[in-house]
Amino acid sequence: MQRYSINVGFFLLALTLIGAAYAGLLDNYTLTVLMFMGINIIFASSLNLVNGYMGEFSCGHAGFMCVGAYVGALLSLALFGGGKPFGPPLLPPELAVFFFPLVLIAAGLVSALFGLLVALPSFHTRGDYLAIITIAANYIIISVIENIDAIGGPRGLSGMKKNINAMSDFFEAPWMFIWVILVTFVCVIILYRLVTSTCGKGVSAVCQNEVAAEIMGVDTNRVKIMAFMLSSGLAGVSGALYAHVYGYVNAQSFNILKSTEGMVMVYLGGMGSLSGVVMAAVAFTLLVEGLRFAIPALNGVLHDLSLLPASFEVSQVWKWVIIPLILILLMQFRPEGLLGNRELTHVFPRLKKWVSFK
């Protein structure tokens, strides 16, 4: 029962969501929020592999998302047209639905290669120094992309939506939603299977005592390469999804603020807790969306009570005061996050009947 329960559970959940979307029970706004939830789940839980399980401090995770977004967008535009940088499409738009998974995989593979950028210096440095290297890598990636005019430069790329819409010619369905939901579940299952295997526990061994890991036969350099590449590869996949959900990419969307969002989700959920980070990603997405309504409401109330001068408006920019503030409060009062490095099964032992994190 344990062996299949998690897959079956995920499958049923995915089926329910997709079914509801297909039947038109969910409006466009709800669909968009759910899609960003999925993207955030992939982004945060892949960062968790490095920052949580391996105990490194990667601050530039959005850089890999950026690579994935651009690779995904460029491939999509090259294969099916719709954008400026390329000439006529290489394939007819009817094939878009079959090639989209390949686009995602390619985006993941290229991002994984960029993950080596960070993995190789990590052999010699840890902690603060590696954190600086990852920030630098984030900036290098963004600056390089912004300065290549052939791929849009600072203007970004657009036109990917057309390819998603083309999928509906093949079969009428909320395709983008389906892809995001399926890919999110696949990514979470990949990470779950990794961290519960003896092979993946080598990652935690490197975190908890690198010397002991090496002496007990764990090839620590290989483990680091594997973790960084898998982590950045999945971030790339989330980037490719992001590009297609928005239909537009711009390198500046993946700057240090985006990386910070990832870290907030990881530290909110608990480093080294897969279930915690998934919950945190869901909560964070809801929070960001909630603020979209809460801030104007608050603004209105404060003005009605004449607590604010009429010339001062509380704008959406305050989101970036509130979110870092959450991070500060979290570090003060619960530095280990919601679940620490425990899983849901430790908090609710009855779940053990269904899922095992052993």
């Binding site: 990949i190 299977r193 990794l194 295997s197 003896t198 092979c199 993946g200 526990k201 080598g202 935690s204 061994a205 908890q208 005592n209 010397v211 002991a212 890991a213 090496e214 002496i215 007990m216 036969g217 764990v218 090839d219 620590t220 350099n221 594997m226 898998l230 080294g272 490095n341 052993k358």
Partner: protein, 255 residues
Amino acid sequence: MALLELDAVSQRFGGLKALTDFSISLEEGELVGLIGPNGAGKTTVFNLVSGFYVPSEGAITFAGRPTRGLKPHQVTALGMARTFQNIRLWNDMSVLDNIRLAHYHRLGYGLADAILRTRRYRQAEKDIERESRKILEVMDLADFAGEFPKNLPYGLQRRVELARALSTRPRLLLLDEPAAGLNSADVDGLIRLIRWIYEEFKICIWMIEHQMKVVMSLCQRLMVIDFGITIASGTPKEIQNNPEVIKAYLGDSAL
């Protein structure tokens, strides 16, 4: 042929010569001690043998292979295991997981198998689980399989570390001060445990130890180093009466 051979090994750290012309040859099935005052270079010898340091001069051969250029995990895979002076367990992983991870170098499956949960993965994990439970059983640790090492008393942590080292299936086991921090009752238990491991697993054991009681009752022969130089070697009896050794430990005026 010797299991482990060190031939005139020297190690320099900058201007400091931590070890000078150290030679030893260990045969299969021996129980040998390495003693010397604090800072004599004993742990340096173990770090060289296990591949953490590359010797400045000299050659190390283990199981018929020169180990120069091998990483510690590759040396482990050749059949060498080690415990540490200050216990180095993975503290946020259960005791069982600590033992399981010691099988890492012969997992027999890769990342793809783990993600796809292939038959090879399931078989390997089943074998690892069975063997780990077995070693916990024989080491009297079965009751603590689910505990985190950091919550165990010191003596038990030592035992977990020994069980973990044995799980790599070594031919040579290096013990770096196994009795450090144990009270005298625990030390007696440790002596029995090491003797039992030695007889049960039929492996070669090389140990660094300060407590004379331990080395005298266990080791067949001893080497003494001081300031990185070998000053004596022989049976425990011979060593006990060696004036050089007494001088190194107690100073000139003791004679």
